[in-house]
């Protein structure tokens, strides 16, 4: 279908720092015991897209990602892994691989997307409207939405950082305005010309840019060449294209200019051209109406291009792994409501326990749980709505609720872990209590009767017995003294 697919797998994202590391680049972060990139690759594979370009930031990361892909998809996909320098941004990454892009249209997918919206739908919308860019929008995760839904349209600008402002035409086909979270602090500036041409604009704050775009290659390359300062697709390229849709500076493909030339000739000779006939009959979008002038009398058609939106239906799952919160959310969803994404078959108890896992007596694993290969659990443990990775060793009387435990983790007897993310190779000793700790990283040697809640992340902490660590603490490489209470915020 003349589409090329570029997967932007990122490198070691700063937002996810404690989770990702040199060893584990963002693309390989396990979601339900599978690298997050595999969700995108399998989504594409289902759509029969087997020739992919995966762009990874950083040579090391590229090597690791490439190694994993060649191992896992050796005879299923034809993947080229390209390494780009770090911090070039998404636009920079595309610029770097520009010479590999040959097809008419490019599908750009973020590697951290976990969704079941078929990319074909976006591509079809793109083709149907002959758009320059088509962005997939999906309803924002509930956390970002809950309070903003009650307030009216324009107040949403003041809402928490995570909501984007997206303007659509009444038919919800065209993108008229897009502003990412960072810009929203300021007033919204909407171009008069666009508003006038469309007549009506819907402003949505409940939509999220899923970072799945279809670009017309010629347009994309023109923008990337002309605007060398553009770093990010989402923050620079897309808003630019949307802004300039009625005064397009892009020289689209040759055919378009030729057509325009034809039209001019046609107007002069007072003859009818097929292109005109075509334009006459299809219901014109506001672009065409604008291009031909208010009364169809513009001497030279103004150049326009279309920016389309594909809005995924609410029943589809779509999320991006771009924050630690999102990481635990996605892990929970993939084993829970969006379980068809995980690719595992769930048992009758609605959980997945690898046959090689060993469970002690009276240990219960509740629904929506996952237990990886060769993990061992002691007696009287209880696991609820959690994902436990491979080769974990968990002692007796351990409670794991709403948590993600990665691979090779050792948890001592009597621990209680709630709402936490525990990274690989962590060792927790006996009777540690963790509550809502986002991340625990690298080796933690914690001793008995140790309560931690709302801590952000820990790197190599050694903690004695009976500590209480509460809200928002950040502990790095500290050795905590006895009976000290760390409290901040």
């Amino acid at each position: 279908m003349d589409f090329q697919v570029v997967v932007l797998a990122g490198g070691t994202s700063k937002k996810l720092v404690p989770l990702v590391s040199k060893e584990v680049p963002k693309a390989l972060l396990p979601v339900a015991n599978r690298p997050v990139l595999s969700y995108v690759l399998e989504l594409l594979e289902q759509s029969n897209l087997k020739d992919l370009i995966v762009v990874v930031e950083g040579e090391d990361a590229a090597l690791r990602v490439g190694g994993w892909i060649s191992g896992a998809y050796v005879d299923r996909l034809h993947v080229e892994v390209a390494a780009v320098p770090e911090d070039v941004g998404t636009a920079g990454a595309l610029r770097a691989i520009a010479r590999h892009l040959t097809a008419n249209d490019i599908l750009v997918v973020s590697g951290d997307l976990v969704c079941d919206v078929p990319p074909g739908a976006v591509a079809a919308t793109h083709r149907r409207h002959d758009a320059v860019v088509t962005a997939m929008l999906c309803s924002a995760p509930v956390s970002g939405l809950s309070d903003s839904s009650s307030s009216g349209g324009k107040d949403k600008a003041k809402k928490p950082r995570r909501c984007n402002i997206i303007g659509l035409d009444p038919a919800k086909q065209f993108l008229l305005y897009i502003a990412t979270a960072a810009e929203v602090e300021k007033d919204i500036r909407v171009q008069k010309s666009i508003l006038r041409a469309v007549g009506q604009m819907e402003i949505h704050a409940d939509l999220m840019d899923a970072h799945l775009y279809a670009f017309k290659r010629s347009a994309l390359q023109a923008v990337l060449d002309q605007k060398e300062t553009f770093q990010s697709l989402k923050q620079d390229v897309l808003p630019y294209l949307v802004r300039s849709q009625l005064r397009s500076e892009l020289l689209l493909n040759g055919a378009q200019t030729e057509e325009n030339g034809n039209d001019k000739v046609a107007l002069q000779n007072n003859k009818v051209m097929p292109s005109q006939l075509l334009a006459n009959a299809s219901t014109p979008s506001f672009h065409e109406l604008f291009a031909s002038g208010a009364d169809g009398s513009a001497p030279v058609p103004r150049k326009t291009h279309k920016c389309c939106a594909y809005i995924a239906s609410k029943s589809k799952y779509c999320a991006r792994l771009n924050s630690i919160q999102a990481f635990s959310d996605i892990n929970r969803d993939v084993t829970g409501e969006a379980s068809h994404l995980s690719g595992y078959s769930f048992s009758a108890q609605n959980n997945i326990i690898d046959p090689s896992a060993v469970l002690g007596s009276k240990t219960t694993v509740g629904p929506q749980c996952m237990l990886g290969e060769c993990s061992q659990m002691g007696d009287k443990c209880s696991v609820k709505r959690s994902v436990i990775g491979r080769h974990c060793r968990i002692g007796s009387n351990v409670k794991v609720v709403n948590s993600v435990v990665m691979n090779h983790v050792t948890i001592g007897d009597g621990c209680s872990i709630q709402g936490s993310v525990i990274c690989s190779n962590v060792q927790l000793q006996e009777r540690v209590v963790l509550r809502d700790c986002q991340v625990l990283c690298v080796c933690v040697y914690a001793h008995s009767a140790f309560v931690v809640s709302h801590a952000w992340f820990w790197v190599s902490c050694q903690v004695g017995a009976s500590y209480v660590v509460t809200a928002g603490s950040e502990c790095k490489g500290e050795s905590l003294a006895r009976k000290e209470k760390i409290q901040s915020q």
Binding site: M1, D2, F3, S47, N48, L49, N104, P118, P119, G120, A121, A123, A124, T125, R127, R128, H129, D130, N270, K271, V272, M273, P274, L277, L278, N280, A281, S282, T283, P284, A294, D295, G296, S297, S313
Partner: protein, 672 residues
């Protein structure tokens, strides 16, 4: 004959059903085939208001009531629109038809129908007068007038097929129908053997239908048929076990397919003919449209569905009379097709794009759809390369066929597109086998360009030149909907400095007239805009009516956007000339007398919703009500009597000359 009638009338099973009509009134004129001179006098112009879908079905006993052929004299009044012989064979039965028609009032077009309606409404359900109910309008013809001239138009054969296939539809409680249908078929064939030129048409048509007339059905076959019908009825009642039913259908189909007896007769018929005009026969065969898919034939629909690229869910409540037309749940098709975007490997992107634009309704209008399709094919041909060990001619034809079937799934083809496809295939077939691939491709591409240029662009210019001569200062021109040619005519006339006013008549749900209006007003024409409901009010001041057409058929019938017939008839009643502007490539040899047998159904939701009025929501979520059927017809057929003139690229001709153009310039000539 009478059994035809019953099989047809039974096809409405929901009594007292509310049916919402997009075109609330279906006009139908009954036209007798008479030569030109006596036409104005004796030809019956009787626009009958037929309440499509509103009829309540006559109960089964009605079948017996209406009795033998001679007892259905009232139905003669409503001489079948379908089975009337085409005019060229008319001379021999002139007297009989004259006799038939003399009894009918020629009178005013509108009032009698109103009377008729009121009378039917008072009639209780059980005791329908056949002439008033659907029975009357169903294709019935007294054998005397029908069989004598021995000319079956292809539509009549089509209809036969339909009635036959109807037996397999679940909702038809046709118990012992087949037997009598057989006898009728026998008669028909006997007649056709007598006839000279028309035999082939019948034979072809019958042989191309998968369930041909069974001449001598064996006992076993009949039994199997009956059983299948019983099973189908049960399935319809409880909605049970479709698999079972399908299996049945298969079992039944086998014996019924290709009955030996039938084959024998058809071959006899063919061999009888062979001495005479074999070449003509060949031509006919080629030009014969492929058998139309009848969507009330369950087994075939199933089969087609398995092949289909686009997954289609059929709308459950279809209006009975239009069951044979495809209607799908709108809104399910597009997402389904979108999902498959990358799976459709053999589909060329350009073709896909056009298809999805048809499906989404982005692309409307006969000309533009045709041009878009041809340009997509051009793209596909450019990118085409013959696979090894295959010849370009065959492989490319197969490829084009697959594209076409994909496009049909997206939206049924218009007649103009069918003609264009025929042209393209003929060009491919004519390519010399020695021609290099690249040369063949360039020649095809230039052929397509030439077709677009000569048949559409230049033709439009010629039409505009002709039509402008008919516009005088002070004229009030009425147009309906949005036709690209009419728009060009109006704009050109305005540029020439003619002083005239335009009345743009429009109708729900598409309101295409607004786009036209915008352009006209933008250019400074003085316009009036109204909806088709008010057409009788604006008509007195109108001096000419310009209308576009999707197609003009060889009997002069104009097939066009629904509502056109209504406008043309009102204009006729007010003695306003009706000028149809249509390029000659849209002409078709088919003869069609009503808008039932071939039409297109649009999205039923489009008429149940009123845009811009949230408070009018009486029909929200009513689409699945059992007793509600929504009918959104897209086309209608305007009888040639209401048309004063057809402006085409061959000049301005009366509607009767369409057949001449088709004969003289048709076939090879028409397609360059």
């Amino acid at each position: 004959m009478n059994k035809y009638l019953s099989s047809h009338s039974i096809s409405s099973t929901l009594p007292n059903s509310l049916q919402l009509l997009c075109c609330s009134i279906q006009f139908e004129a009954v036209i007798s085939p008479l030569p030109m001179d006596s036409r104005r006098n004796s030809r019956l112009i009787d626009p009958k208001m037929r309440r499509v879908g509103f009829f309540t079905p006559p109960p089964p006993p009605d079948r017996t009531q209406s009795g033998p052929p001679d007892s259905i004299s009232p139905t003669d009044n409503w001489l079948s629109p379908v089975m009337i012989p085409p005019p060229r064979h008319a001379s021999d039965n002139l007297s009989s038809t004259l006799a038939l028609h003399s009894s009918r009032a020629v009178g005013m077009p509108v009032p009698p129908s109103a009377l008729r309606r009121s009378s039917t409404e008072n009639v209780p359900v059980g005791s329908y007068n056949p002439s008033e109910s659907l029975l009357g309008t169903s294709p019935v013809l007294s054998p005397s007038s029908n069989m004598m001239d021995g000319a079956f138009s292809e539509d009549s054969a089509n209809w036969i097929r339909r009635s036959n296939s109807g037996k397999f539809a679940s909702s038809f409680p046709t118990g012992g129908l087949d037997l009598t249908a057989d006898s009728e078929a026998k008669k028909a064939q006997g007649v056709s053997e007598k006839g000279e030129g028309t035999v082939v048409g019948v034979a072809n048509d019958l042989s191309s239908s998968s369930k041909p007339q069974k001449e001598k059905t064996s006992k076993a076959t009949r039994r199997a048929l009956q059983e299948s019908q019983r099973a189908a009825k049960a399935a319809a009642k409880g909605g049970v076990a479709p698999a079972h039913e399908q299996q049945r259908g298969k079992a039944v189909k086998q014996p019924s397919q290709k009955k030996d007896g039938f084959l024998a007769t058809s071959s006899i018929a063919a061999s009888e003919k062979k001495g005479g005009d074999r070449s003509q026969e060949k031509d006919r065969k080629k030009d014969m449209p492929p058998p139309r898919m009848q969507f009330d034939d369950k087994s075939r629909v199933e089969k087609a569905k398995r092949r289909a690229v686009v997954k289609q869910t059929e709308v459950r409540n279809r209006v009975e009379l239009f069951r044979h037309l495809p209607q799908y749940e709108h809104g399910t098709q597009l997402p389904e097709l979108e999902l498959k975007f990358f799976q459709l490997d053999p589909m060329h992107p350009a073709v896909y794009k056009v298809g999805i634009q048809y499906l989404a309704g982005d692309m409307l209008g006969g000309n533009s759809r045709c041009i878009a399709m041809l340009q997509a094919f051009q793209e596909a041909i450019k990118d085409y390369s013959t696979p090894p060990e295959k010849t370009l001619t065959r492989d490319l034809t197969a490829k084009i066929n697959s594209f076409v079937s994909f496009l049909i799934e997206c939206r049924p083809l218009s007649i103009s597109m069918g003609n264009a496809i025929r042209f393209l295939k003929a060009r491919i077939a004519k390519l010399p086998i020695t021609l290099a691939e690249s040369e063949a491709k360039t020649s095809l591409c230039s052929d397509i360009d030439r077709f677009i240029n000569e048949k559409i662009v230049v033709a439009d210019n010629v039409i505009v030149r002709h039509a402008v001569t008919k516009i005088r200062d002070g004229d009030v021109l009425l147009t309906y909907g949005s036709s690209s040619v009419v728009e060009m005519i109006l704009l050109h006339a305005h540029e020439l400095g003619k002083k005239f006013r335009v009345v743009v008549v429009d109708s729900h749900p598409k309101l295409e007239g607004q786009a036209l209006l915008r352009k006209l007003v933008g250019k400074g024409l003085s316009c009036t805009y109204t909806h088709v409901n008010a057409v009788s009010y604006v008509m007195p001041e109108v001096t000419k009516v310009f209308l576009g057409a999707a197609s003009v058929l060889s009997n002069g019938t104009v097939y066009s956007r629904v509502g056109t017939a209504c406008v043309a008839m009102v204009a006729h009643a007010f003695h306003v000339p009706v000028l149809i502007c249509c390029e000659a490539y849209k002409f078709h040899e088919r003869v069609q007398l009503d808008s039932i047998c071939s039409n297109e159904l649009g999205d039923p939701d489009a008429i149940s919703k009123v845009s811009g009025r949230v408070d009018v929501n009486y029909l929200d979520n009513w689409a699945n009500k059992e007793n509600l059927q929504l009918l959104n017809l897209l086309y209608d057929a305007t009888p040639s009597d209401y048309i004063s003139m057809i402006i085409t690229d061959y000049g301005m001709v009366p509607p009767t000359s369409v057949a001449v153009i088709l004969r003289e310039y048709g076939g090879e000539h028409l397609w360059i």
